[in-house]
Symmetry: C2
Subunit: 197 residues, 2 copies
DNA sequence: TGCTTAGCAATACAAGTGTATCAAAAAAAA
DNA sequence: TTTTTTTTGATACACTTGTATTGCTAAGCA
């Protein structure tokens, strides 16, 4: 047998190189050569792990989504429901550098996927799974009677989802103008308007 | 003197070709050659009107922003304030094909501008001018005492702005999943929660 | 009628693109 | 040590990219 190499680890290493290039130069800067160089390996090595550029991109996109997903799923469910929601949203919205990085990558991929048939299904899948997270939040709130009376939980889930993604976009394209505190404040205010005191 | 040609008209013609390519293939598909072909002219002609590709892109980006801006500014100010706000938001959010096209182009440009120093200031300018629109809306509402008591109009302007841009993004990346009626419904609901009955 | 010049078309060029191929290197198994 | 097979690196190929250059065309003024 040849050199022992953790295949999956190498693939993630390459995906992370893709992320760095996206943040620095945008998705236009992601070529197989630039990724190989960024990851410190040769073109041939890269092609050994990914048959094509689009396979590399799809893997990179899926990986960032899975990291966020896992972080959300590993959150403790107990305790105050409102606090749980706030920490959950805190995993999505660009409140710190890591979250900002993920937001930038998500936005780049989402835009790219609009005209890339190979990536569209994956983009939709990510969007839908986040939508389900919001749905579940409001279902639970509704059942626990924590929502203010008369609210349509399905509609509120969509409204909250749009607000959060809007904050993500604003955090990315106007990070110098909107602060983490403001983002957190807007979410606070929104929850105030939805939940029973 | 040579052939009489409306310079500005030609430039807009080229910008519109850029838009069509963005919608069809994304910004990656926008090369000087593809734009020239889409506009039905030669490479040399295009370069006669734009010294460089980035000048072409900047012009195209600015033009779409100005079209939206003009549409908003030409709205009649009289009548019911709430109705005015709804028609104003209706100029931004992808409720029909034309608005969807503009949203796609806006998203592509905004993402591209993140890593393009030439375009970043323009992107920020567009963002800021929309932020000012929202600010003004809530200032006016506040002065007319149409807002529910106890609301921070500055914060509410930011929240509304984020919600609207979130709806734009959702309308673009999940147009098959979210309908125009749903988008309109979410805005209705949001205004209900803000305005005095 | 000739002249000037904006507008246009064609070609060239260096650089970068994704992909394919193929041989060398390295390490476990014989 | 020899064999085997994954991993790696180099090179090549066809193509596209942005830009530059060059000369032709056509229209209005003198």
């Amino acid at each position: 047998m040849p050199k022992i190499v953790n295949h999956e680890e190498r693939r993630e290493h390459l995906a992370e190189a893709v992320w760095r290039i996206i943040r620095r130069e945008g998705l236009e800067g992601v070529s197989v050569r630039s990724v190989a160089e960024e990851a410190g390996m040769s073109l041939g090595s890269l092609r050994h792990y990914f048959d094509s550029q689009s396979a590399l991109l799809a893997f990179s996109m899926r990986l960032v989504a899975e990291r966020i997903k896992k972080r959300i799923q590993s959150l403790p469910q107990d305790g105050d429901p409102r606090e749980h929601i706030e920490t959950l949203i805190g995993q999505i919205v660009p409140l710190d550098e890591e979250r900002l990085a993920e937001s930038q990558i998500w936005m780049a991929f989402s835009t790219f996927a609009l005209t890339e048939p190979d990536l569209r299904p994956l983009s939709r899948e990510i969007h839908d799974s986040l939508r389900d997270v919001f749905r579940k939040i409001f279902e639970t709130l509704d059942q626990s009677q924590l929502l203010k009376p008369g609210l349509d939980s399905e509609l509120e889930a969509k409204r909250f989802h749009a607000l959060v993604d809007g904050l993500v976009v604003h955090g990315v394209i106007a990070s110098e103008v909107i602060s983490a505190e403001e983002i957190a404040g807007i979410i606070e205010r929104h929850l105030d308007s939805l939940l029973e005191p």
